[in-house]
Symmetry: C2
C-alpha cells in the first residue's frame, strides 16, 4: 500500500495561525509558558482537537491531551510536543511537533482510518524553561521526574508561581487526567543544529539525547564607586566572573569537539556604569554525549573557578540547577522512523539530539523516539529560526506513516 | 575669633530623616532621581529651607535653591550637592553635602550672623545618572554643558522621559529661576575612596576631578540553541564580550597605577540559560588624572576589540556615552578649605577626586572647590557606605567656616 500523505495547505494554515499568537518582529514568537499568549494558543488548539473529534482532557500539570479512539482499549500511541516558546523564539520549535500530530489526526479522519490502538496527541506545559526553570516541567512531572509540589512551586523572575499562573489561564485540572500508560511516544521536532542541512538529508531518526548540566555560578565581591577605588584594592565581581568565563571557553576549546558550553544568562548587581559590581550570577550550560566527560569537565572547572575566586578574594558559590544523563531511545521506534522515511522515499540518517526535548522524559515513561527536520543555518531559539515547507511536509508524512504503523502494532 | 561650630544633634536628625526616605535593607538608600522617594525628600528639604528663612526657588532642570540674603547684592556664595542616590546607594553620598549646607545656614541663624554676600544652598537634580544617563544633568544643564533639550529628552530604562518625570513630581519650574551668577561654589562630599582613611586624615581639600570616559560596547553575534550548535560554528556574543573585558582588565593592570577601569553594566540578549547570546552590551568606565593617558588607553583598546571581534566574526559597535577631561579647582577655594581646617585644628591634605561631582561642572560656572570626608573602607555606592559622626561634625564645621570667609569676601 502506498503511504498516505497529509494536507499541507491545511497544516500550513495552522502554522500561520500559531505564528500570530505572540508574534514579535522579524518572524519571531514570544509565547512564554502560562502567559496570556500561551492561554490563547491553548484555547485554539483545544478547539481544533474538538473539531477533529478528539476527546480532550487536561491534567494537573497543564498538559493537554486529545484522544482518537482505536479499535481496542490497549495502551495508546502518544504523539506531540509543546506550544510554548523562548522570549525571542521562532515559529517552528515545538509548535511543528504539535501541529503535525494534529494534521496526522485530521488526515486519518479524511481517510476514515481506524487504528488498532487509540492515538493521543499532546501539548506539554513549559517545555522551554524560559519562564519557569527548569525546562520540561510538564513531561517531567508526568514521567515522575519532578514531584507535583516541585512543579507547582516553580517561580518566574517576577516571583509568580507556576501553580497560580496555571490556574490563572484556566488550565489547571485534575491529576486523574494524566496519561496513565502508553504503548509508545513519538515527537517530531526541528533539529536546531546543522547536521541534516550540511548533509542535505531530509529526516533524522533520533537515537537519543545528549546529557546536559545547568550550573549557576554566583560571584560575590565588594561594591564601590568606580572612580576612587584603586584597582589593586578592588574585589570586582564582574572582572572575576569574566575571567572565569574566558577560562571555561578556553578549556572547552581544548576538549573534544562534541563538548558544548554556553553562558546564556548573566546578571550584575547593582548594574550601574559607575558602580564596581558587587555580585555577578551567570549560568553555564554544558553538554556531551559521554556523561563522564561532561561530569569531569564540570568538576575540573569548578575547582579552577574556586582557585580563581580565592586569588581575587571574592566569594564563589555554585549550584547545579539541572542535570540529566545521556538517554537512548527505543530501538523499535528509531527503526520505525527510518522505515517510514524509506517507504516515502526520503533521505534519512540516525543522529543524537544536542538539545533536550519532552521525549527525553517520555523515554522514562514508555518506548520513545523522535523525528528531526532540517533547521536552516542550524538556528533555533531565535526569530530567524526556519524550516522549509518541503521539509515540514515530508516530516509530517513520516510522522503520519510511523503513527499508523505504531498504532497498529498488536504486541 | 574662635571658629563657630554647628549643632551636630540637629544635623544628625536631618541625616536620619533622609535615611528613611527610600530606605532599603542593610542601611541602604534607593532614591533614584525624580522617583516618588526623590519627590518626598525634595518636599521635606523645601520645608526645611523655608523654616530656615530661605527664599526658595526651583529652576527648569529641577535644581532647588534656598537664598539667605547678605548685606549686599554682590554675587552669592553657592553651597550644596545632591539628594538623589544609586539604586543600592548609601545614606551619605551627596546627602551630606546638602544637609551640612542646611546646617551651616541654621547655625548662621542661631548666631544671627549677617554675611557680606548672600549665600545660596542648592540640591542639584539627577547627579547620580543611575536613572537618567549621563550623571550631573542638573549642574551640567546649569553650567551650559548640556542643552535644555538634551536634558529634557533623557530616558530611563523604561523609556520614561526626564521632562515628564520632572513635571510629574512637581519640580519642573522656570528657566528664569536658574542661578545667574555666583561668587564661588563649595561642595562637601564623602571621598568614596581610601586615601583619607588610610592616612588617618580628617579633611580633604580637593584640587580637582580626574577625567573620565564612559564607553558603551555592543557585541552582536548569532543566537541559537545552546545544545546542537558545535562550538566552532558559533558566533557567541557572550564569549566575545567576556574575552574583551578580560583583555581590558589585563591592559589596565599593565598600565600605570592611577588608571581605573570598571565594567558596571552588562546586558545579554535573549538571556536564557539554553540560548547562545545574540547580543551583549556592556559599559566601560575609564578614569585617569592625565587625559592623554586615558584617551590613549581607550583608543588602543578600541582597536584591539575590533580585531577580536573580527577574529570571532561578530559585529562590534562602540559609543562614547560621556567624556570629561580632568578639571582643576580654583586655588583660592582649595586654599580656603585647608585654612578653615587649620583654624579648627583638623588634619588635612590636598587630593584629587576620582569620582565626578556637581562641582565638576560648577567649576565651569564659577570659582569652585570641594571638602572631602573619610569613607570607611573607601566604600560608596553600596548600602554599607559609612562616614563616622566625628568626621561629619568636623566636615560641617569646615564648611561653615569656609562659607563665612568666602561670603565675606569683598573682592
Amino acid at each position: 500500500m502506498k503511504p498516505l500523505t497529509i494536507n499541507f495547505a491545511r497544516m500550513k494554515e495552522t502554522i500561520e495561525y500559531s505564528a500570530k499568537v505572540g508574534e514579535i518582529p522579524n518572524n519571531g514568537l514570544c509565547r512564554l509558558a502560562l502567559s496570556k499568549e500561551d492561554k490563547a494558543m491553548r484555547e485554539q488548539f483545544q478547539e481544533w482537537m474538538i473539531e477533529a473529534g478528539l476527546e480532550v482532557r487536561v491534567d494537573d500539570f497543564g498538559n493537554m491531551y486529545g484522544r482518537r479512539k482505536g479499535q481496542t482499549n490497549l495502551d495508546p500511541l502518544v504523539v506531540g510536543s509543546h506550544l510554548d516558546t523562548q522570549p525571542n523564539g521562532g515559529r517552528f520549535d515545538g509548535v511543528l511537533g504539535v501541529l503535525s500530530a494534529l494534521e496526522a489526526i485530521r488526515t486519518l479522519n479524511d481517510y476514515e482510518i481506524e487504528t488498532y490502538r487509540s492515538i493521543e496527541i499532546v501539548n506539554f506545559a513549559n517545555e522551554e524553561g524560559a519562564r519557569f526553570e527548569p525546562p520540561l516541567l510538564g513531561s517531567g512531572g508526568l514521567a515522575g521526574v519532578f514531584s507535583k509540589e516541585y512543579v507547582y512551586n516553580r517561580q518566574d523572575r517576577d516571583r509568580k508561581v507556576f501553580k497560580n499562573e496555571l490556574a490563572e489561564i484556566g488550565f489547571k485540572s485534575d491529576e486523574k487526567n494524566r496519561l496513565q500508560r502508553a504503548h509508545a511516544f513519538l515527537e517530531l521536532h526541528i533539529e536546531q543544529g546543522p547536521i541534516l542541512e550540511n548533509e542535505r538529508i531530509t529526516i533524522g531518526a533520533v537515537e537519543g539525547i545528549k546529557g546536559m548540566s545547568w550550573l549557576e555560578v554566583k560571584v560575590t565581591g565588594e561594591g564601590g564607586h568606580a572612580g576612587p577605588t584603586p584597582m589593586p584594592l578592588r574585589k570586582d565581581a564582574m572582572m572575576a566572573a569574566t575571567s572565569m568565563i574566558a577560562h571555561i571557553e578556553r578549556k572547552c576549546a581544548d576538549a573534544d569537539g562534541d563538548l558544548t558550553v554556553t553562558v546564556g544568562r548573566l546578571d550584575v548587581k547593582p548594574g550601574a556604569v559607575n558602580c564596581i559590581p558587587e555580585k555577578v550570577v551567570f549560568s553555564v550550560d554544558v553538554r556531551h554525549l559521554d556523561d563522564e566527560i561532561r561530569e569531569k569537565f564540570i568538576a575540573e572547572e569548578k575547582a579552577v573557578l574556586h582557585e580563581m575566586a580565592a586569588d581575587r578574594k571574592v566569594d564563589l558559590e555554585t549550584e547545579m540547577l539541572w542535570e540529566v544523563d545521556t538517554s537512548t531511545f527505543h530501538e523499535d521506534i528509531i527503526f520505525q522512523v527510518s522505515k517510514s522515511a524509506e517507504r516515502l522515499g526520503y533521505s534519512n540518517r540516525r543522529l543524537y539530539s544536542g538539545a533536550g526535548h519532552d521525549a527525553k522524559y517520555m523515554n522514562d515513561f514508555t518506548a520513545t523516539g523522535m523525528i528531526f527536520l532540517s533547521s536552516v543555518d542550524g538556528k533555533s531559539h531565535v526569530e530567524s529560526e526556519l524550516t522549509l515547507d518541503d521539509d515540514i511536509y515530508k516530516g509530517a508524512n513520516v510522522l503520519l506513516d510511523a503513527m499508523i504503523h505504531l498504532a497498529d502494532n498488536k504486541e
